[in-house]
């Protein structure tokens, strides 16, 4: 009996030793369930695609790469909890989170653990203003985005009275505030207020807005609320144009609002990847496997490649070395050349205005 026990123990020990140190682990964090699950799935698809390509070439540092998926349910509390979990499981770096309100508290955890995080989508300025060395983003910032949106309203549409609403999240309110700030009194904001994320009935607030006779409604928030807002505004006979940011640019927005109500909606977002020559290879591969691209698919793909390149060039799993490498390297990916500045923001972040036309998004205007 004793002999068998010893044999069993030694097998278990060998197995557990063999399992350890076999892979390089990276974490993906985002909303994998709930109303924003589509965004999380987009992340997952892109990261999986990138990691499979690396593994086909033999992985990194001579080891295969394993992906750990964490669901933050777009909830800041949950984000901190999954961040701790990813750190404890030994992630060398994180791709995520999606919502700024999740990325910001989670960045504390990653900073303490000394590992890098690269978010493909969190655009709130505060994220990189905290001075954490290991926090990066491959997307733009809301102050850049709000500036373009305000410029469009002032110079292109030449409006006088607008309404600004937001969903009270870090991202939504941040974007709405930046937009308002860059209007700079040249356009009158006749109504400014918040709605509740997850709510379905906005007719009461829209009725109050209708009374102010605005020429445009600007919404800082994500597509489920944006879709319902446009739809219910049209039902109330409020037919002024609607404008929102990158959180709304998703086919689900048009599906929820209905193509007719969504028609003519302006959205600030980065330029169409279809027009970027370097992106073609990625787009074809992604489409063949998962269908239509999500708004952040390409960002998640580049973020993964940047992280893994940094690990490879640093030649170690040590977080500090990887972070320093990330700061100094220049990367050319599907989006073109990417370089990080001192704060971890991309040095060039162009935003353009898109429009919804015949149930599709199209590039419309450049500052």
């Amino acid at each position: 009996m004793k002999k068998y026990l010893l044999l069993f123990l030694s097998i278990v020990l060998t197995l557990s030793c063999a399992k350890k140190e076999e892979t390089i682990k990276i974490g993906i964090a985002g909303p994998m369930t709930g109303d924003q699950a589509k965004m999380g799935t987009d992340f997952k698809n892109s990261v999986t695609l990138a990691v499979e390509e690396w593994n086909a070439k033999g992985g990194v540092l001579g080891k295969k790469i394993a992906v750990m998926i964490a669901d933050d349910q777009r909830d800041p509390k949950q984000a901190v909890s999954v961040a701790n979990k990813l750190v404890n499981k030994g992630a060398v770096g994180i791709i995520g989170h999606f919502n700024s309100s999740c990325s910001i508290p989670a960045s504390d955890v990653y900073n303490r653990a000394g590992i890098p995080m690269i978010t493909p989508a969190s655009t709130n300025p505060q994220l990189t203003e905290k001075g954490y060395r290991g926090v990066f983003r491959v997307c733009g910032r809301d102050d850049q985005q709000g500036k373009v949106a305000a410029g469009f309203v002032i110079h292109q549409l030449k409006l006088k009275k607008v309404v600004v609403i937001h969903d009270k999240t870090t991202y939504g309110q941040g974007l709405a505030d930046e937009f308002k700030k860059f209007l700079g009194g040249m356009v009158e904001v006749v109504y400014y207020g918040g709605i509740v994320q997850g709510d379905k009935d906005f007719k009461t607030v829209l009725t109050a807005i209708k009374d102010k006779k605005p020429e445009l409604i600007f919404f800082g928030g994500i597509y489920p609320e944006a879709g319902l807002l446009v739809k219910q505004a049209r039902e109330l006979g409020l037919s002024v144009p609607f404008m929102s940011g990158d959180g709304t640019i998703d086919p689900k927005f048009i599906e929820i609002a209905g193509a007719q109500a969504a028609e003519g909606t302006y959205l600030t977002f980065s330029p169409d990847p279809q027009h970027i020559p370097t992106a073609k290879e990625f787009i074809d591969k992604y489409k063949a496997r998962y269908g239509e691209l999500g708004p952040y698919s390409i960002y998640a793909y580049d973020a993964t490649n940047i992280l893994l390149t940094a690990v490879k060039e640093a030649g170690t799993k040590d977080g500090k070395a990887i972070i320093e490498r990330l700061h100094s390297m220049e990367f050319s990916g599907a989006l073109g050349k990417i370089k990080f500045d001192n704060r971890g923001d991309v040095t060039v972040a162009p935003y353009v205005v898109w429009i919804t036309k015949n149930g599709k998004f199209e590039e419309y205007w450049k500052l």
């Binding site: 709930g34 709605i195 009461t204 109050a208 109330l236 006979g237 689900k252």
Partner: protein, 301 residues
């Protein structure tokens, strides 16, 4: 603007009232707060989307839209009623003689089970109900009313009236009132308690199915968690009107809808959910049994 907000509030309140009826009827008879009731409403919304999708697939929708909506509504009612019936038999009936807390915990369990069951079978993402009516509507004393809104208000009113007559005039309605007054006494005079309780659950669930289907059509967006907040609101409406009282639930629902609309319009939309609870606290302080409720002593007089 006032007229518009009243219309908004009535639409919302009508839906709350219909769900609240399910709570209040079950409480009246079993003194059980059926926390799974919100989930029945959510099932109704999903059933609406699924059956309607089915009719679209076989081409009935393009043949006759009203017919397919009515058929979808009937099928959803049957679907949810059978859920209500089964839930009572499985989760509440075996506990009828247990302490009062046990069926309550059982109800919470059923609620959690149903949410996760729908999440796993239907997915965690939002489901979109096809946008059928567009923004079409008419103007009514300065307010813009869509056809769908008037449909919802009309159906709610119709259902409340029919329920009122059902409980007041029919034999089974009379039996329900008798069981609510005194279960033991009712059984002594030959009323089949099990039938009455089952009927209550079937009717309550059928009403929730209608509410779910109407909300799915109105907002066009459904997910597995909508039952929670709707359940809480409807429960508030039932308590506001006096839990156990049918006119109370109707009144409570309408008041709740109007308070939310007015609060969001004239104070701030950010605290929309809070107004309902502020009103609830005030009413409970002044009249602990709710507006139409009888205090415990009165019930047994």
């Amino acid at each position: 603007m006032l007229a518009q907000q009243i219309i908004n509030g009535l639409t919302l309140g009508g839906v709350y009232a219909i769900i609240a009826l399910g709570y209040t009827m079950v409480y009246g008879i079993l003194e059980l707060i059926n926390f799974a009731h919100g989930e029945i409403y959510m099932l109704g919304a999903y059933a609406g989307i699924i059956f309607f999708g089915l009719f679209t697939a076989i081409g009935l929708t393009s043949y006759s839209l009203p017919l397919s909506i009515v058929l979808t509504l009937i099928l959803s009612i049957i679907f949810c009623s059978s859920y209500g019936f089964t839930i009572e038999k499985i989760a509440y009936k075996p506990l009828r003689k247990a302490p009062r807390l046990s069926p309550l915990i059982s109800a919470i369990g059923v609620s959690i089970f149903l949410q996760n069951y729908v999440m796993l079978t239907q997915g965690a993402t939002d489901r979109v109900f096809p946008y059928l009516f567009g923004a079409a509507g008419f103007d009514f004393i300065g307010a813009r009313v869509t056809y769908l809104q008037s449909f919802i208000i009309a159906i709610s009113a119709l259902l409340m009236l029919s329920l009122h007559f059902f409980v007041a005039r029919t034999m089974i309605g009379k039996a329900m009132r008798a069981v609510a007054q005194d279960r033991v006494m009712a059984s002594l005079v030959g009323i089949n308690i099990d039938t009455v309780i089952s009927t209550t659950f079937v009717i309550g669930s059928g009403l929730a199915a209608v509410a779910g289907m109407m909300v799915a059509m109105y907002y066009g967006l459904v997910n597995y968690s909508i039952g929670y907040i709707a359940g809480i609101k409807a429960f508030t409406a039932a308590v506001l009107g006096g839990i156990g009282s049918i006119p109370g639930a109707m009144f409570g629902g309408i008041v709740l809808g109007l308070v939310e609309a007015m609060g969001a319009a004239y104070i701030s939309s950010e605290y929309k959910d809070a107004y309902a609870f502020v009103i609830l606290i005030i009413i409970l302080l002044i009249k602990p049994a709710g507006l139409f409720g009888k205090s415990t002593e009165d019930r047994y007089k």
